[in-house]
Symmetry: C2
DNA sequence: TTGTTTTGTGTAATATATTGCGCATATCAT
DNA sequence: ATGATATGCGCAATATATTACACAAAACAA
């Protein structure tokens, strides 16, 4: 059960930026689906999810699994990240390289050093 | 409870593309966090989530809420959608305009018309 | 090295998402 | 207009994520 009334149901707070991003992605999925003449049921079946979940995602629901959203985006041909020919795997390596150059754990005293320039 | 053994725990299937995208985003969040000298606990507190969830997200867990992932990305300064790229980077209004031009519901017979060119 | 803090990992309890269903409404093809 | 299908939405049951906690190991500062 949720709260005693609907007002108490929401727990988290999201920034407008991430809300817009989620809504945009949902709308893009809906657009891609319609461009390809997929029924909500058809696309949901292809993604292995229920029609209701697809509806939530297209409406920009923040609480859906990121895996489902990205999978749907992939199914309707949305390029999630602008990557070069080698794809995003290469970007992951690149990010790993940059992470390797940073300290593996962050300690409180090291915070001061950063912002002096 | 999950399955009797770990083999049965996984239920969904994801494409390599969306797996890479999720991992890339998690790594980018980790990189942004370290660049800003944030402890995992600090960033988790700012996002209002637990340290364990942040760890899952940074590892590229597909089953986390998209709202949390996007919120974290926003907190460490990741631009989720490049403004003028052709991928997802359309405005919500623009996408709504394009959706309005398409039929509001998809019917089976209309499917044939699409793929003739 | 020594002490301190971060990080990695696992667990049970709780919170929440997802599902499958039914029904009403809207939309489309004819 | 009529029939057929898609969509919107609410519900209870189930599946899953998230949390809080504890512990060990690794990383860092001095």
């Amino acid at each position: 059960m949720h709260g005693v009334n609907n007002i108490m149901d929401k727990k988290r707070v999201y920034s407008n930026y991430s809300k817009s991003a989620t809504l945009l992605l949902g709308k893009a999925i809906q657009l891609g689906r319609k461009e390809r003449k997929f029924t909500m049921q058809e696309l949901a079946d292809r993604a292995g999810i229920s029609r209701g979940t697809l509806a939530s995602i297209e409406k920009g629901d923040m609480r859906c699994e990121i895996g489902l959203v990205f999978e749907l985006a992939s199914l309707v041909g949305i390029k999630l990240f602008d990557a070069d020919e080698n794809g995003i795997a290469m970007s992951i390596d690149h990010i790993n390289d940059k992470i390797a150059l940073l300290p593996k754990s962050i300690h409180p005293t090291s915070k001061v050093i950063k912002d002096d320039f």
